[in-house]
């Protein structure tokens, strides 16, 4: 076995590459003044793909060795309970309207993606990958895998969805003449998960806290509603 081949089968190589790609992407994002299209996850994925293509390494080889980083998604998903708990404590006053709005948004997100997708001729695995697109990436990937979608495609779709929601938020609310940071936060949290929440924090602290809660509730609701809605729609 030549040295390059043994390096290819050494996890350290791909763990280092993945960390380096993310650090570089994060650096570019901060340097650009948090420009939405330079989202660090999106750029990081592109950097990994380009490296693998240049080095002629098949994706399966890479993923096999980078599994350790992938595994950390699971405990990180469990860890989402902590910010969710903290945000719940802060929002008890308008719990009713909040729950109704998040439910309406959650159902709209799933149903519109599935119906539009079917109308535009997306194939079944792609359609199933789209259904959980508005929830935070770790939950969306787990839901996609469970429903029979393609988790990698879901990861890409979810991130781009977050970016689109973050870009549309302010012009849309201005057009609707809604000037309420709570509404802005909840809308972008339901439609655009963590990336939307980052945008909401730029609007105000209030918008950010509401967005974080809406994102958490939406993750939970979508997990419960998705199997049901898919059974009705498909």
């Amino acid at each position: 076995m030549n040295p390059w081949q043994s390096l290819q089968n050494f996890p350290g190589t791909w763990l280092a590459l993945t960390c380096a790609a993310f650090l570089l992407a994060d650096y570019l994002y901060l340097k650009s003044g948090r420009f939405a299209l330079l989202n660090p996850v999106l750029v990081g994925i592109v950097l990994v793909i380009v490296s693998l293509l240049v080095l002629h390494v098949p994706y399966a080889t890479y993923f096999e060795q980078a599994r350790l980083i992938h595994f950390l998604l699971a405990p990180a998903t469990v860890a989402l309970a902590i910010p969710l708990y903290i945000n719940i404590q802060r929002m008890k006053a308008i719990a009713g309207p909040l729950l109704i709005a998040v439910t309406v948004g959650s159902v709209t997100g799933i149903v519109s993606a599935v119906l539009l997708g079917r109308w535009l001729g997306l194939s079944m695995p792609v359609l199933l990958s789209f259904a959980p697109k508005s929830v935070t990436t770790p939950i969306a990937m787990a839901l996609s895998a469970r429903a029979g979608g393609l988790p990698s495609l879901t990861a890409g779709i979810v991130i781009v969805t977050g970016i689109v929601a973050a870009i549309l938020l302010v012009p849309l609310l201005r057009w609707l003449r809604i000037d309420d940071d709570r509404v802005a936060g909840v809308a972008v949290g339901v439609a655009g998960h963590g990336i939307g929440t980052a945008r909401a924090f730029q609007v105000s602290e209030t918008a950010g806290a509401f967005s974080g809660l809406a994102m958490g509730l939406n993750g939970l609701l979508t997990s419960l509603l998705l199997p049901l809605l898919l059974a009705i729609l498909l």
Binding site: T18, C19, A21, P40, V41, G44, I45, V48, Y59, F63, I69, H70, P75, T77, V78, A79, L80, A81, I82, P83, I100, A101, V102, V104, G105, T108, G109, S112, L116, L120, S123, V126, F130, S134, T137, P138, R146, L150, S152, L153, A155, I159, V160, T161, V164, A165, L168, L172, L176, D180, R182, V183, V186, V188, A191, G194, G219, L220, S223, L228
Partner: protein
Amino acid sequence: MLYGLAVILGFLVAGEAASDFLHLPLPGTVSGMVLLLIWCLIRKGADERTAQAATGLLRYLGLFFLPAGAGVMALSGLLREQGIAMVAVLVLSTLMTLLATALTLAWLLKRRAAHKDDAA
């Protein structure tokens, strides 16, 4: 850090077990999140060391998506065939979600404020 991480991993295993044995529609990771949330609600506060480990993990959440996310490179054929339809679905559906959520909440909050004024 290690204690908090162990607690989180414990909830992860409990969540996987709950989803498997009870045939829940939730993925095991989400069940684990719900169990940890319930634990916080019962003890009326997040355990300090667990919260620290959670914050540590979530700070690098973005990194954890890269190995799976790079999997789109294996789907380039799919993207070529259905890419344009995908972008259309994504933008339209996101717009509808934002609209539906914002209009519902704005309406409900306005109604509630009006009720309060009536009472006063």
